[in-house]
């Protein structure tokens, strides 16, 4: 029941916003308070979560009984981590958009609708419900990019929508295939996972269904070469949408792999692992290389996401506990660190009206807080130990090396990504943050208290996760272990 509230509370907020008078300034207050309550509820769930048990806070009632569709929600450690990320970034996105003057009612309504979808995906345990939330996310994001985006917003919004919709159609095929197969025959994800673990699904069938799900999830992650919607969407999206896009939406794809592909189709996952591993390495190295060459700050961060998500895919392909721990840790860390980067880039853009790296320089001199925090976020992003980025990438590498499914060169190639990440990040820092202020940055104002308040929780989490790994791994590890056992046959 609590999960229902968490998922649908933003919907209630949306209705309330719709009822506000046209020029009301109350939309942001309403949105912020709804998101705040949502986050508090998630925190309550986390506090009362028993890491030793699997799925908790379950609600499971018939929904469309003719088709055996149920309203089934619950959280395990993986879901909870993602739910927390989504709730936190949702709140911060609202506060970061405080100065939204253009159609604020619709804007905050869209953020709230987006929140419903994001929260829902991570707790749904019925495929139909899952699919509904999955697609629900597209609509508000389409409008956020398409209505409040940059100059090429229509192109980016349509590209984003069609590309991911195309992917999810394949996912739908996979869902229906599982439903129609005699050994599946249900939309219940837990039951399907049980069927997958018991080996009831024949390998050939699994292989094809895995491919269908792969296409659906890989677009969302995104895995090379299905990534090109991401830079366009990011560059055109408003800051808050970028934060949520990189912070939460990309995680939905990786979450799908962990929740669906691995436990339900373990035999196929083993067969596909080397292929995914290769794509992961290409994503890591290619994303890092292309990020290095970018001239637009936001595009650089977007390509860095491709690179980082490669580490997630490496951990998933490995299938070992370390790998999956690492994957979820990277997902979480990438959410907060990239969120921080996008917020900072947005702040810089707001003040200088440019994102061209060539035009920006000496940020730390002109605006010490902004510049310093951009450098901090860059170091967090390149995986400095003690900060959150390191935990996941390191565990992914450990898992990749230990995995019997992946050849060793894949892990070695992925490790080089650590170096390449430092290269593009520090090269950016060198040009943007350091040096003498350029004409664009000269005299720019520094971060406001509101902006610092948005960044502060992210900074704190970056440290907390980086220094005390158990802060998220205590939730993730037991949940991940069960999946790893199914895939690799051993813990």
């Amino acid at each position: 029941m609590l999960l229902t509230v968490i998922v649908f509370l933003p919907l209630a907020g949306l209705v309330a916003i719709a009822l506000l008078p046209r020029d009301s300034r109350g939309a942001k207050w309403l949105a912020a308070s709804v998101m705040g309550v949502d986050l508090a509820l998630v925190a309550w769930v986390a506090a009362h979560f028993d890491v030793a048990r699997g799925m908790q806070f379950a609600i499971d009632v018939p929904w469309v009984s003719q088709a055996h569709i149920r309203y089934h929600m619950a959280v395990d450690g993986i879901s909870l981590t993602m739910l927390g990320l989504s709730a936190l970034l949702g709140l911060l996105a609202v506060i970061a958009s405080w100065k939204q003057e253009d159609r604020p009612k619709a804007y905050f309504a869209m953020l709230l609708l987006l929140q419903v979808g994001m929260n829902g995906v991570f707790v749904a345990l019925d495929f139909v419900l899952f699919y509904v939330f999955w697609e629900l996310v597209l609509v508000p994001m389409f409008f956020l990019i398409g209505l409040w985006g940059g100059p090429k917003r229509e192109y980016a919004a349509i590209k984003f929508f069609l590309y991911t919709l195309l992917g999810s159609v394949f996912m739908l095929v996979g869902i229906l295939a599982l439903y129609l197969h005699p050994a599946g025959g249900t939309f219940d994800m837990l039951a399907l996972a049980k069927a997958g673990a018991s080996g009831a699904l024949p390998f050939g069938f699994q292989w094809w269904v895995f491919l269908a799900f792969f296409l659906g999830f890989a677009v969302k992650v995104p895995v090379w070469p299905l990534h090109t919607w991401l830079p366009d969407a990011h560059v055109e999206a408003p800051t808050a949408a970028s934060v949520l896009l990189a912070g939460v939406l990309l995680k939905m794809g990786a979450y799908g792999f962990i929740r669906v592909s691995l436990p339900m189709l373990p035999d196929a996952a083993r067969a596909w692992a080397p292929f995914i591993g290769v794509l992961a390495v290409i994503s890591i190295v290619y994303g890092a290389a292309v990020a290095f060459a970018q001239t637009d700050l936001k595009k650089l961060v977007a390509y860095s996401s491709v690179s980082h998500m490669g580490f997630v895919m490496l951990g998933i392909a490995a299938g070992t506990v370390e790998g999956l721990d690492g994957a979820v840790a990277v997902m979480f860390s990438h959410g907060i660190v990239t969120g921080m980067l996008f917020l900072l880039v947005g702040m810089v853009y707001e003040r200088t009206h440019t994102r061209a790296i060539a035009d920006l320089s000496g940020l730390v001199v002109a605006a010490p807080l902004t510049g310093g925090l951009l450098a901090f976020a860059s170091f967090a992003s390149l995986g400095l130990p003690g900060l959150s980025g390191f935990v996941g990438e390191f565990l992914s590498l450990l898992g990749g090396w230990r995995s019997a499914l992946l050849p060793k060169w894949i892990t070695i190639g992925a490790a080089s990504g650590v170096l390449l990440a430092a290269a593009y990040m520090l090269w950016m820092v060198l040009r943007v943050v350091l040096g003498k202020p350029s004409a664009a940055t000269e005299g720019m104002s520094d971060a406001s208290p509101r902006e610092l308040a948005v960044l502060a929780p992210l900074i704190a989490l970056t440290f907390a996760v980086g220094l005390y790994w158990d802060s998220i791994l205590r939730f993730v590890d037991p949940a991940v272990k069960a999946i790893s056992v199914v895939v690799t046959g051993a813990a």
């Binding site: 590209k159 090109t228 290619y286 060459a293 003690g386 650590v418 430092a422 290269a423 350091l434 791994l473």
Partner: protein
Amino acid sequence: MNWLVAIPLLPAAAFAVLWPLSRRARNRLQWLPLAAMSGSLALSMAAGVAVVRAAAVESSRGAVVYHAAVEVARIAGRPLRMGLRLDAVSAVMLMVVTVVGVAVQVYSLGYMHRDDRKGWYFAVLSLFSAAMLALVLADSFLLLYMTWEVMGLCSYLLIGFWHELEAPRLAAIKAFLTTRVGDVAFAIGLAVMWATKGSFDFAVVLADGAAWPTGAAWPAGAATAVALLFLVGAMGKSAQVPLHVWLPDAMAGPTPASALIHAATMVAAGVYLVARSMPIFHAAAPVALGAVLAVGLVTLLVGGALAVVQHDIKKVLAYSTISQLGYMFVALGAGSEVAALFHLTTHAFFKSLLFLGAGVIIHATHTQDIREMGGLHKALPWTTAAFTAGALALAGVFPFSGFWSKDEILGTLWRGGQYLPFAIALFGAAITAFYVARLWFRVFGWNQACSLARESHAEMIAPMVVLALITLGIGFASPWFATLLGEEARLPDPGLAAASTAVALAGLAAGWYVYGRSEARGTEPLRRRWNRAYEALGNKLYFDLTFGELLITPYIALTGRLSRFDTSVIDGAVDGMGAGWRRLADSGARFDIAVIDGAVNGAGRLVKAAGARLRRIQTGRVQTYQRLSIAALIVLVLWIFLRGV
């Protein structure tokens, strides 16, 4: 002894306090890091006392005195711990780091007092000390790796401290990336270690009970892999050829920071890493140890040779550091961690002394070019005395500390029967003495200009004096040092000592002959004679050029090409699919309008035409309809009658 945790935590806390503050508040609190560091120094001394007490008992010599760990995570239910662990090696390293650290902090008060970002400087210095102290106290390779990288960050921040100039910016990124090449190898090594042993704890992977170090049962393949990967990591951090290129450039940072980080402590972390993982190297012998030895020998020669031709006083010292680190690797390759650690210790003191002296000289003369210096002994008496002590230690002259530790290394090689390495190391000692003489005579010799130079503040002189005294005295502790680390105490072999002293003196004499005599004013004849060699050395033996041409330029070109590939090919394919679909849709639309819609419209038109005719019946008059109905009824009835039912 839980107070041990305060040793790294004090400076870390100082950083944590200063970091969020404004620039002005930071500057006002610049004493805070020094206070923290002094606290760490005091606690380190206490730790040293505890270790010495323990070592007094024969059986517990070299044992772990203290160990405590916390669990940071459980991976697959297996605990991942990080903690602190004190043994003799750690205690020695603690003393080195804290003493040099405090000296540098005190010195910096004078050196940086005009800089308007000095608060930040002190904060980073503090964070660096915290990381280094945590590194030497680490009880697992994981924590060691983490602190290792944090030091990389501090090094980056300090090299790039004056980032508004271009050279420090570039040097900073170069240092970080070059050492990160090693870190990648280190990380893969950790992955191999995890896959083999399932732990990073020293207690597990080194299998050291009482005696440190003892060989543990490692599978040879895994041990070789781990050892070589760790070696590459250590080469990055400790500036071994070919990953040494960052260290000379790192001199773009403030001089005291160079003294602490790029001479005395951090660069020694690689040596410490190899020394710590010695059991693994032994398990991987002879490949791994041979590799360490080879790397060390090449490095000591390359570093020494390059030090000879540098004109920047700091770069001379930087290459000399590379060379001396090579000596430590040679000792490790010969299997003697004690010799390596002892040289590390003595080198830390005398090299930081030399750097601090160089700082005073740079302050006094406003130049770093030794060709523009000279005759400074009159203006800077204290500095001259201290610098000379350091220089003699570096050259390996009795009784200064360098003599003892270098002798130890040479002795190890000799006793191990490794005569070729011995010869190379001895030759390296000659080169060392030569460039030391060159440096000394260039800076202090001749009665040249620079009369404006004045001695610096007391807070800059005092640390140098302390370090000079340590340099003078610590050599005599050599036997005690060996005992403390659990090896047999040994005094230098007289024959060996004579040989090395002779070599050092020869080198110094040669230096004097070229640079010191009043009639020797130029090196032009020498340069002309060894033109090719000089050119090669002047180009830093082409290492930077090679990396630039073979790695960096191609990589940048590649990124540009990949970026274009991304937009034109991959994204082009996506857009192309979109465009293709649209064309298909367009032609579909045309077909739709012409054929399908045409059929529909045709049907509609037919109905319309029929309707136009039929509407005539629709008169709107009720009685017409009635008549029609009746007529129809009659026809129907007639039809039924005629057909029969």
